[in-house]
């Protein structure tokens, strides 16, 4: 998580943001990193929580249609 350059929070999908968030919580609970690192983890964690909440609030079911081997957006009939 801390190894590679972290992705901009605004570009993360819900799953990405959430799994990083979980990792941060575990790391912080272990609590063995330098204070400065702990604080930056915390800040990133807060950003990720906000991102997740946003994504949940905005979430709209994404429906694709698989015809043959081709995926395309599915238009629902009302």
């Amino acid at each position: 998580m801390a190894k590679t350059e972290p992705k901009a929070i605004g570009k993360l999908t819900y799953e990405e943001a959430f799994s990083e968030l979980e990792a941060i919580v575990i790391a912080l609970e272990a609590g063995d990193q330098p204070l400065e690192e702990a604080l930056s983890l915390f800040e990133r964690g807060q950003g990720l929580t906000r991102r997740c909440a946003e994504l949940l609030d905005e979430a709209e079911l994404k429906v694709n249609k698989l015809t043959g081997e081709k995926l395309e957006p599915f238009q629902e009939q009302e």
Partner: protein, 407 residues
């Protein structure tokens, strides 16, 4: 005739008695109670009472039928004039109308009976192969990210499923494979759909669904090849086929069976968006607590380290050296004083001793010391008449001269 009638012993009935008797005969015949009768529906009427009246007929005969409202309400298809059906019920007599009729309690399109036999045969066969074993069933994920749906693109089933997913877990991604769900092409299309879906998108779970219908409508889901395809899917499958009372072989083979398409969508999303939001709130709290406690731990260990540091500080050593010095000084002084005091005491003693031994001490008692040229004169041989002498008494000295001698 007149004569005959007098001796005639034939039974005599009232209409009611005869009708009751006939009714007893019919109702006492087991083969007429709880029996199936095949025929074609005609003269169907369904008045506002809700009861259903029709005639069953075949090429050469007809049979009056009635189906009471409660039984008619359970029909899964809409019978029409001309429909070939199998009616289940009991024969009795409607006394007021003088008509025997079939009191129908169940009605199904003709052929369903044969289908049911086929269903039972296939079920027994596949069961024996172990395709329905509980040990084969795969767990369905708690939080799927990607859900596959195999159903008709136009049916109510799809609408119900999508609405349910939208309400419960709109973050999920859905891939629909549209298939015909009844008719001859249905089995092949369903099998291909499952295969492609597994291979191309590999969803976390697949919903195989269809709205309600007759046993014939649902028949594709009893197709042996479809049942096998369900057991061979890599992703776990939840079926939601027909209504609560409908069971298909695909249901038995699935990893989970839901009574309806809506219920299948619910089973696929045990964790809803509300749960996710609650979890986020919880994580937020854990994060904040985590950092607070880290800071607090750091603060505590800092205080401790500071104390440690203070302990080993040169300043502290300096202070302690100074204190030791003070201490030593104090102790040194005391020793010195003591030594001095001892010395002084000894000196005093010696002085007193000395004083006591001093010949001068006796002077106080009237003795005098006589010296001649600084030498004490203790014998007459040391002097002669005329010699100058010094005489020392208690409070001073004076000169004297010898004027005579006694020897």
């Amino acid at each position: 005739m007149e004569q005959l009638s007098f001796f005639d012993l034939s039974p005599r009935w009232t209409v009611t008695e005869l009708t009751r008797h006939l009714r007893g005969l019919l109702e006492g015949d087991e083969s007429l109670q709880g029996a199936w009768v095949q025929g074609e529906i005609s003269n169907l009427s369904r008045p506002s009472s809700g009861h259903m009246y029709f005639t069953l007929k075949d090429a050469t005969a007809s049979l009056r039928c009635v189906m009471w409202r409660n039984d008619a309400a359970r029909l899964r298809f809409a019978p029409k004039d001309g429909t070939a059906v199998e009616a289940h019920g009991s024969i009795s007599i409607y006394e007021a109308g003088g008509q025997y009729q079939l009191y129908v309690d169940a009605l199904q399109p003709l052929g369903e009976g044969a289908l049911f036999q086929e269903f039972m045969r296939l079920k027994a066969k596949l069961e024996a192969e172990g395709l329905f074993d509980l040990s084969r069933k795969r767990p369905v994920p708690e939080s799927p990210r990607h859900i596959g749906i195999v159903t008709s693109p136009t049916g109510a089933a799809l609408r119900d499923i999508l609405n349910t997913l939208r309400r419960r877990l709109p973050v999920v991604e859905v891939t629909l494979v549209p298939v015909p769900v009844q008719g001859d092409e249905a089995p092949g299309a369903i099998i291909l759909a499952l295969e492609t879906l597994n291979r191309v998108v590999s969803p976390d779970v697949i919903l195989l669904a269809r709205g309600g219908g007759s046993i014939e409508d649902l028949w594709a889901f009893n197709d042996e090849r479809v049942v096998r395809a369900v057991t061979q899917s890599t992703s776990p499958i939840i079926t939601g086929i027909g209504h609560e009372t409908d069971f298909t072989l695909a249901d038995f083979a699935a990893d989970m069976r839901a009574p309806t398409p809506t219920a299948a969508a619910e089973l696929a999303t045990p964790v809803t968006i509300l749960d996710l939001k609650a979890k986020l709130t919880e994580i937020d709290r854990v994060l904040a607590n985590g950092v607070t406690s880290i800071i607090q731990n750091r603060r505590e260990s800092m205080t401790w380290t500071e104390n440690e540091l203070r302990m080993y500080s040169p300043l502290r050593r300096l202070q302690s050296e100074r204190q030791r010095l003070d201490d030593l000084t104090r102790r040194g002084n005391a020793a010195q004083l003591h030594r001095l005091a001892l010395a002084a005491e000894r000196l005093n003693g010696l002085e007193n001793q000395l004083l006591a031994l001093s010949p001068l001490a006796v002077l106080g008692r009237g003795y005098a010391v006589v010296t001649k040229k600084r030498k004490v004169v203790s014998s007459t041989s040391q002097v002669k008449v005329g010699d100058p002498l010094q005489v020392r008494v208690k409070d001073g000295e004076f000169d004297a001269r010898i004027t005579g001698m006694d020897r």
